[in-house]
């Protein structure tokens, strides 16, 4: 069996409530371990999203800041 480390971390209330609904006492650590493992695997195999974001182009026509502000509010009225 792998050795373990006891850690303390802080969760937003709503995440904690969701976690409580999905787990029973005694299984929380196992659930969190699986979630963290998945996240680590995802990070290790996926390209850096920041690089992907910066490579994006041609998503929009050229827009001024004024046009961007207007676009944020489109459809609200």
């Amino acid at each position: 069996m792998d050795t373990t480390k006891r850690v303390t971390f802080t969760l937003p209330d709503y995440v904690y409530r969701q976690l409580s609904l999905l787990t029973v006492p005694g299984q929380v650590s196992q659930f969190v371990t699986e979630a963290v493992r998945e996240k680590i695997a995802d990070r290790q195999t996926s390209p850096d999203p920041v690089d992907e974001f910066l490579k994006l182009s041609g998503v929009f026509p050229k827009m001024t800041i004024k046009q961007i502000k207007e676009a944020v509010n489109l459809g609200r009225k």
Binding site: P49, V59, K62, I65, K69, A71, L74
Partner: protein, 137 residues
């Protein structure tokens, strides 16, 4: 650790190729956030605003979906304001003659001891007296 709060104008301006300086600045900040050197916060409103611009102004459906998928993975921490905080925001919005939405981003930055980054010069000019704001443009 330095804290920044961004609004939709920063994200969209970085995707339009209109202003390379903003894209470069935001890109550098995202890299630093990824390396946990800074924290980037925003309101849970941000993904809705970005999705709205993509829905109305995105050129090609495929690109639009790809852009949102990538945006979702950026190291941005989303937060809600409590109802009491929204009351304060509403008051400040009236005092600065700005929208509640813009003021809410700015409030989040000041409450978290950070800097609100925006490309909206109109808002910046009206609200800079409150402090905790930087204009990117």
């Amino acid at each position: 650790m330095k804290i920044f709060v961004i609004d939709a104008s920063v994200v969209i301006a970085s995707l339009t190729d209109e202003n390379k300086k903003i894209k470069s600045y935001f890109g550098r900040l995202l890299k630093e956030a990824r390396a946990t050197k800074v924290k980037i916060f925003s309101l849970t409103l941000l993904p809705l605003e970005v999705a709205n611009v993509l829905r109305y102004k995105g050129l090609i459906n495929e690109k639009r979906d790809e852009a949102f998928k990538i945006f979702r993975q950026l190291p941005i921490i989303y937060q809600n304001l409590e109802l009491d905080e929204i009351s304060v925001v509403m008051k400040q919005s009236g005092e600065t003659d700005t929208s509640v939405y813009d003021c809410a981003y700015h409030y989040l930055a000041r409450e978290r001891g950070g800097t609100f980054l925006t490309c909206d010069n109109k808002y910046f000019q009206k609200a800079k007296k409150l402090g905790g704001i930087e204009f990117l443009g």
